[in-house]
């Protein structure tokens, strides 16, 4: 079972090695396997959306980064708004503080079993847990149509923002998954777990209440997060 470490601009220094490993695994996947991106001479895949507004969930198991997710507030420039706005013909590009774009998910090859209790489902569970914790109401973005039935299997609801379409020989759709307690409960039931998959170390940045000068510090090491609002009355 993975532990999903929440990594953001404030605590990234605690994850130097893991973050570098994450960028190399991204290069393996998005450059060598998917051919979505040109090779990078340093073997790390980084794009224009890897900025300080991004929050990463690094799925770590037995000391390795085996899976990942990148979450970006849709109020910031994100892949759908900058690259795929034409795929939101039904609803328009979302620009909501409590909607997060979910991108850069891979699973390392030896963990890529398609069984429903595998690494991908564990990552989905961690994303849903994080989204609920942070008060998000939807997570999603551009997705390969082929994998959409996985959301169904988790009993998740995903709203399309436009029609599926073919781009560069692959089929994609922009869809957002509803974040709620039921969605977390169903994926946990499938995984047969009741515990948190998240680890929060060091300074935490609240995802939604985007005053980025206010920092949450995890004093307990795990669950109870106490807010220290800096510069607020």
């Amino acid at each position: 079972m993975i532990t999903a470490h929440v990594v953001n601009a404030q605590n990234k220094h605690l994850y130097e090695n893991e973050f570098d490993e994450f960028l190399r695994r991204r290069h393996d996947f998005f450059v060598h396997q998917k051919h979505w991106r040109p090779p990078s001479p340093d073997g790390r895949e980084v794009d224009q959306f890897d900025t300080d507004v991004a929050t990463y969930l690094l799925g770590i198991e037995e000391g390795r980064v085996v899976t990942s997710a990148r979450l970006i507030p849709t109020t910031e420039p994100h892949m759908v708004s900058e690259v795929f706005p034409h795929m939101c013909e039904k609803s328009g590009v979302p620009r909501l503080p409590d909607w997060a774009e979910w991108t850069r998910t891979f699973v390392v090859p030896d963990k890529r079993s398609t069984g429903l209790r595998g690494t991908l489902t564990q990552l989905c569970c961690a994303v849903m847990e994080y989204a609920l914790d942070e008060g998000l109401t939807a997570v999603g973005g551009v997705q390969e149509t082929y994998f959409m039935p996985h959301h169904g299997a988790l009993k998740w609801h995903a709203e399309p923002l436009g029609m599926a379409r073919e781009e560069n020989g692959e089929w994609y759709i922009v869809a957002y998954i509803e974040v709620n307690e039921a969605a977390l409960a169903s994926v946990r039931k499938i995984l047969r777990i009741e515990h948190s998959l998240l680890a929060r170390r060091g300074a935490q940045v609240p995802f939604v209440h985007g005053d980025r000068s206010s920092i949450y510090i995890d004093l307990s090491g795990r669950h109870e997060i106490h807010a220290i609002h800096q510069g607020e009355p």
Binding site: G115, T145, F147, M148, H151, M163, A164, W171
Partner: protein, 240 residues
């Protein structure tokens, strides 16, 4: 067909509580695109039986029976190609290697007796099978779909596929036919280890390893451990 018809279908998907009501709705909706029949099924591999893998059966009754009875799945180019691609395709675009065999042409010929001449297929992930395919069939000789109609059909297909996955409950409470130990023994067998080697790896006696292998064979009703490994992989119980 206009886009809002597609999004209306997507919206209705949330309310379908049975595969039957989803099938009726999807059949009625895709009729507007010229498709009278459809089937959503796991893609059979290596002699797997088609019938238990079918999730939405909107084929003409006589045709489905004949297809299963004659084991057409093993030779039908559309079915074979459905296991080899992740992308939606027109039946007429199946490479000749699979569609132009005598047996595949015979299947296509028989289908016309049931009003099935052309079609469009959408492969997608399945958590139970190798993958699934939703195949739409038309009685027109040549399936003419505009780019927009293809987009509409794919969108409806994946939402139908999501809905079917959401309606299936078989993974939730059903006990795995194998214990963890039996799975472990089969995994090492898949890696080419003998019972003796496996016993050393797992710290068990060889007799115990053989006993777990026997139980695994019994669970599947097969004669050899190799068959048990194949069955365990096929059912996605082990991932060598």
């Amino acid at each position: 067909m206009i886009d809002s018809d597609v999004f209306d279908f997507v919206e209705r998907c949330r309310k379908h509580a049975t595969a039957g009501s989803l099938l009726t709705d999807l059949l009625a909706t895709v009729k507007n695109l010229g498709f009278e029949h459809l089937i959503l099924s796991g893609v059979p591999l290596g002699g797997q039986k088609l019938a238990p893998m079918v999730e939405l059966n909107g084929w003409p009754r006589g045709w489905f029976e004949r297809y299963v009875e004659a084991e057409h799945a093993a030779v039908d180019g559309v079915c074979i190609y459905s296991a080899k691609t992740l992308k939606p395709f027109l039946w007429s675009d199946v490479p000749a290697k699979w569609s132009d065999t005598e047996a595949s042409r015979r299947v296509a010929g028989e289908a016309t007796e049931f009003g099935i001449w052309s079609g469009f297929a959408v492969p997608m992930l399945s958590v139970h099978h190798w993958q699934s395919v939703l195949s739409f069939a038309s009685s027109t000789k040549v399936c003419k779909l505009s780019a927009r109609q293809q987009v509409q059909l794919v969108t409806m297909a994946i939402y139908a596929g999501m809905t079917i996955q959401a309606l299936s409950h078989d993974d939730e409470d059903k006990e795995s036919p194998l214990t963890d130990r039996e799975r472990e023994v089969l995994l090492w067998a898949a890696a080419g280890k003998t019972s003796s080697e496996t016993s050393q790896i797992l710290g068990l006696t060889e007799r115990t390893v053989k006993w777990h292998a026997t139980r695994a064979r019994e669970a599947f009703g097969v004669a050899t451990t190799t068959q048990a490994v194949v069955e365990a992989v096929r059912r996605r119980l082990i991932h060598p």
